[in-house]
Symmetry: C2
Subunit: 333 residues, 2 copies
């Protein structure tokens, strides 16, 4: 979130740099509401990858994605006075549904600013949890402008999808669970969009194991995070072009420095490899995942030498996919 208008609406705790301790606190805060998701394996995929893959199944999280962790932590961190004003957010889908559900659990309302490109199933989920939807264009500037209007109009509290310390800390709880279930992993790979999941992953993992290698995985057609880290400056204003509808945001002011400090690399993959990896997860693991969730597996399968023989954790970020669009998705690649 870059505009002064929306920044002014942040509660102060949202914009400080989150820590490993914040992730631990988030885990305790969301425990009554979030699922501890399973970690799954596949003989077949291990053989294909030439390494040991441990999949953290956030597609089985409430509302179908890891996003519920961060949204729940943020919403349950708010004061009763803040909660009474209602929650506002912007989202390409999963965060919106997560905020809608968290708001309902806390007994308040939510308004979600969502780009026109948001998949039908994700809009239906947001509406299903009782939130109001306000449409916007896909570009970050449009998302921010409409969000600012909604905040001014409603007086609500912003829970940003990634540039919020409480959201980042919440997303990190998935990695706490993964490393508790599978101690001693050599590497972790998570998808990157705005960087909320990935920076939470970094904070959670570094506090447990200083040696673990941390990777982002990003579609070629939305490689702003990769390029931002390469040139040392946060790149904004590009138009993303990828089948991964959950990975079209750009890094935030909070997430960028965390990734710079902790990441080994961001691994790029093209959309065809993502769809092929998604299909493998459906067929071999019997798990419904959305394209964004298959990006880490696609990245690892394309780099056998790099991960050979190692123990690798991957975050299956979500499972919200339009089944009606599936045939054309498979046919397109």
């Amino acid at each position: 979130m870059n505009t002064a208008a929306t920044n002014a609406s942040f509660a102060e705790p949202a914009l400080r740099a989150p820590t490993h301790g914040d992730v631990l606190a988030a885990a305790a805060r969301i425990a009554p509401h979030a699922h501890v998701t399973p970690v799954m394996r596949s003989h077949a995929l291990d053989a294909m990858a030439g390494c040991e893959l441990h999949f953290k199944c956030e597609n089985l999280q409430r509302a179908g994605a890891f996003k519920f962790r961060g949204a729940c932590n943020a919403v349950f961190s708010l004061s009763d006075e803040e909660i009474a004003r209602g929650i506002v957010t912007q989202s390409s889908g999963n965060h919106g549904a997560a905020v809608a559900l968290a708001a309902r659990l806390r007994g308040t309302t939510a308004t979600v600013v969502a780009p026109h490109s948001t998949p039908k199933i994700k809009l239906a989920a947001i509406a299903g949890y009782g939130a109001r939807i306000v449409p916007c264009d896909t570009l970050q500037a449009s998302r921010d402008a409409v969000t600012a209007e909604v905040l001014a109009e409603t007086g609500g509290v912003l829970v940003h999808p990634f540039n919020d310390a409480r959201v980042i800390a919440g997303q990190g709880t998935a990695t706490l669970e993964l490393l508790a279930a599978v101690p001693g992993l050599d590497a972790l790979v998570a998808p990157v969009s705005g960087g909320g999941l990935l920076s939470g992953t970094c904070l959670a993992a570094r506090g447990i194991d200083p040696a673990i290698e941390l990777f982002g995985a990003e579609p070629e057609g939305a490689r702003d995070a990769h390029d931002s880290l390469q040139c040392g400056q946060r790149i904004t204003g590009r138009v993303a072009d990828t089948v991964c509808d959950g990975l079209r945001s750009e890094l935030g002011t909070l997430t960028f420095p965390i990734l710079r400090e902790h990441l080994r690399d961001i691994l790029l993959v093209d959309d065809a490899a993502v769809i092929a990896a998604m299909r493998l997860i459906w067929e071999r693991m019997k798990l419904v995942v959305e394209p964004s969730a298959a990006v880490p597996l696609a990245a690892v399968l394309a780099r056998r030498e790099r991960f050979a023989g190692r123990r690798v954790g991957l975050v299956l970020s979500g499972g919200n996919v339009d089944l009606d669009a599936l045939a054309s998705l498979f046919a397109s690649m």
Copy 2:
């Protein structure tokens, strides 16, 4: 298996009536090889069904279906002399893949007699585990005739898909795990085809809880088990017409009496309800299941009064579905 030619090839332990003790022994025998699959729940589906649903996820079993339990128990029950002769079976898909995998784990070969209607993905799985495939027609008589030929030609040992005490006992182990994970269920619902899974379910459950209500769930277009129980005679020779490719067999001589003794009812559902239930499991639980696996949920959703407020276990029997055929499957209903 009805023909004298094939019956003659059964090892004696295959044709005696299995017991709860056999299920317990099977659990110990397959433990080094089979997965203990998770039991999953869904807030959304509970609300739709008006009861508490506990799904035993056999789609996450090795080779993608409960069938590995029975195949593994049977193959690992054989003597070294029998194993050396190789395994022969007949299967519409999942049992064939399960036997192929079990044979490979035991260090022997398998030949699978499979009807022309077997989905491509299931044939690919059988071949992928190294088994030889011999095609036949869909009718049980053709399956039996070709199986008898293969047995005569190879000298192999038959592991029947359901009319085998060791296979039935193996299938029952899923229910042992389910009732250990969720004690005190009021009812269990499993799909019925040849009756191997369902009779194993009965034996496992009855030995633990004499009061639990046991139901089969069966497609209208393959209602021979329902009608067999109604008229008290095993009905054979019908042509099944259902989208559930795993549920086109008829009851066996071993399974029929077990179902007669223990079942409360067999619940019929039409194919449209099955596909709708399958879609719900994909969308709400993020699990890939095949049509056959959705039959119990379809049956429960259609009978809200019968199950209202109760705690119900359902076996998600398998997850092997042709993704390329999916669009037409959804469109057809």
